[in-house]
Symmetry: C2
Subunit: 143 residues, 2 copies
């Protein structure tokens, strides 16, 4: 029995921290962090290169943050930037061969982990949670 009530806002923030912490060991052997994973997965999903700003919008982080994240992924040899001849402002980001291989290796691990998450909690509740989270994100995105 929890001795302190946790409001929704604090709960979501604490849950996010906890998820990140528990997720980290899954990716540890590959030397990537959960946030790096999210970028790698987004790049593979896109089936083509993306701009920094496009990635930032998709993952809902600032473009300044994305600059650093991509720099680290480039350092690791998992992603690369190329100039876009059509728009000299943009660079197109894409997975390297190693990056793509890594995503293919890690995706099942990630999905397994997510699937096992909430084995205590009824399936219906998890689905409802997912939907409500999306609604809240949409609502907050405007403001």
């Amino acid at each position: 029995m929890p001795d302190h009530e946790r409001d929704l806002v604090s709960g979501v923030i604490q849950l996010a921290n906890l998820l990140t912490r528990r997720l980290a060991p899954i990716f540890e052997r590959a030397k990537v962090t959960p946030q790096q994973w999210s970028i790698l997965a987004a790049l593979e999903d896109s089936e083509s290169s993306m701009t920094l700003a496009g990635l930032a919008r998709k993952l809902m982080v600032s473009k300044q943050n994305m600059t650093g994240m991509i720099a680290r992924l480039e350092q690791l040899g998992l992603a690369e930037r190329n100039e876009d001849p059509k728009d000299l402002r943009s660079s197109r980001v894409q997975l390297t061969r190693r990056g793509r291989a890594l995503v293919e290796k890690l995706r099942p691990l990630y999905e397994d982990w997510c699937g096992k998450l909430g084995h205590d909690v009824p399936e219906r509740e998890i689905a409802a949670l997912t939907r409500t989270v999306d609604r809240l994100i949409s609502e907050l995105e405007q403001g």
Copy 2:
């Protein structure tokens, strides 16, 4: 219509970022951050002093993190540390007079904001969401 599906884990992490971002302006005039708010509120709730490790457990962050957070709150003159004569390892953290006054001023603002959150989303869903979040936290806390 969202073009990309967002799984629960990514959704919760993105929602937490978004909540923090939207919450920040509420506290901006008082020069505190949402995370600092969470500590101040916890200290007021406790009705007595707390140890660093106790605070860290309650808010589910590492004690190393708490060291820095408390140092910043002390710098701001909102919290203070005193030695515990019963246990020379511990320091007891408590609100200063200014800290207590600030919490009293900010708490209604915070609660209003939380209350208005999800005006699109039925009350029942919000309550269900809160419960599910708590369950997931409990499950992950063990592992």
